[in-house]
Amino acid sequence: MIFHDLLALSSALLLLYLGTRLVRVAREGGPEAALELFTHAMRQGLWLAIIPALCELYIYLGLESRIGLESGPLRMLLISAFVMLPVVLIMRTASWIAFETILGAAAVVGVLREFMASDGFGLSLSDSRYLALVVFATIAASTLVVRGAVTGWGRTGLGVLAGLATVGGAVSFFSVTDFEAACFYITAAIAVGSGVLILVSDKIVHMAFWLLASLAGFASFYLLLGADFLGFTQVLVYIGGILILFLFGVMLTQRVDVPLKATSSLRVLIPGIVIGVLITGLLVFLAGGNNWSEKAAKDIAQIGPNAVKAAEPTAFGLGEAFMSTYILPFEVVSVLLLVAMVGATYIARGKSEGDSADGADGEGGVA
């Protein structure tokens, strides 16, 4: 199809761009400079280029299996490895073991899943329960790992979080009645509670941790809503990418453990809190009592409150949609990412003013 060719072309051009710049820098500043530029670019968001490539790969595979090629666990492994590559690269320079752990857990999800779905443990879990279990386990494990690094309220909060996640995991592992509701409330507590903790934390790194927990909660929501691919993407992109980026931002711009100047001045704070609370109240008011549509009632009436609808894998559908209905956004987003990437690398480039000194760019103005 012409679009695949176009896509391939744009990816090729992208690689060409990167490659040429690297070669150029290498010629002018030697291999060290090139390496530095490369790692710097990776830190600064070049990894974003992976996302369309990832989607592309996923879809290619999805379409292939549609016409009869069975790949199964191998495919998931491939994807996981592919995704982990830049993450690990970043990890190594940052040596954030905790994150490595979390992401490692996220990455084995695919393998585990394949294994368990084939009754490897002799358990027959429904999809949703299984997914929820994985997410909760991830959260709990990572929290416990990270907990050692923090002190004070952050430590307590993490403990609570870990407890919640453990309960969630237990709920999902043992067949509890009204499974979905239990999962939902625990996830909600994690997502919203972590959000509150972001608001009141006094250290930027703690905020990042809480953001991680909150976003993991959202991933869990997506899974509960039957959007498996979306849940994984959330984990990979947000937790694997954006958060790392944030932490780099933190490291590059300020000392990690220094408490922040608490908040803005009162003249912003008070009216800000007032309007924020008002808006929240309004939205909750609207969400809570609106007769949004007829279907919600019907669906639940048909299925019954306690019956968990068997979630179908969404990858096939998404793949098809990407290649048909949503082909245009799919192509446009690659332009968008290209622009963002070019811009981010350009703007965050080192201290040298003119472009003639590209070779010195590698140092990246970093610690």
Binding site: A181, F184, M207, T263, T280, V284, G289, W292, V333
Partner: protein, 132 residues
């Protein structure tokens, strides 16, 4: 356990709504659309509060991520529960929102780094030379 949670939730919803709608009644013991919407509204509010009250650029960016996530959750929840919709529609929108958010965050951080190189700070309050 679920009972107590559910009661709390429905009491809240009932207070807000003054009368529960059929959808809420049908889902009284389960999780329905409104539950997700309330969560997303709460997170949206939290995001706004973070944006307004925290001074660090990076914290503000985290707030923006929360806003975008709450919008995404809305899309997915509506897609699952609303009439006549293909669930995949909402998911795809959210997928793109995530990707766009990533691009935006990367760029914003690059810009924050850039201003750090100029004024040696990423506090928003320190960047106010343009005014009037």
């Amino acid at each position: 356990m679920s009972g107590s949670f559910g009661t709390c939730f429905n009491t809240l919803g009932g207070l807000l709504a003054q009368a529960s709608t059929p959808a809420a009644e049908a889902a009284s013991s389960g999780v329905g659309l409104q539950h997700y919407l309330v969560i997303s509204a709460l997170v949206f509010g939290l995001g706004l509060l973070i944006i307004i009250t925290r001074r660090s650029t990076i914290a503000v960016l985290m707030g923006i991520e929360l806003l975008l996530n709450s919008a995404g959750l809305n899309f997915v929840a509506f897609a699952k529960y609303s009439a006549g919709t293909d669930p995949l529609d909402g998911q795809i929108v959210t997928l793109f929102v995530i990707v766009i958010a990533a691009a935006e965050a990367a760029l914003a951080l690059a810009i924050a780094l850039n201003i750090f190189n100029s004024i040696n700070s990423v506090e928003l309050d320190d960047a106010h030379s343009l005014k009037g």
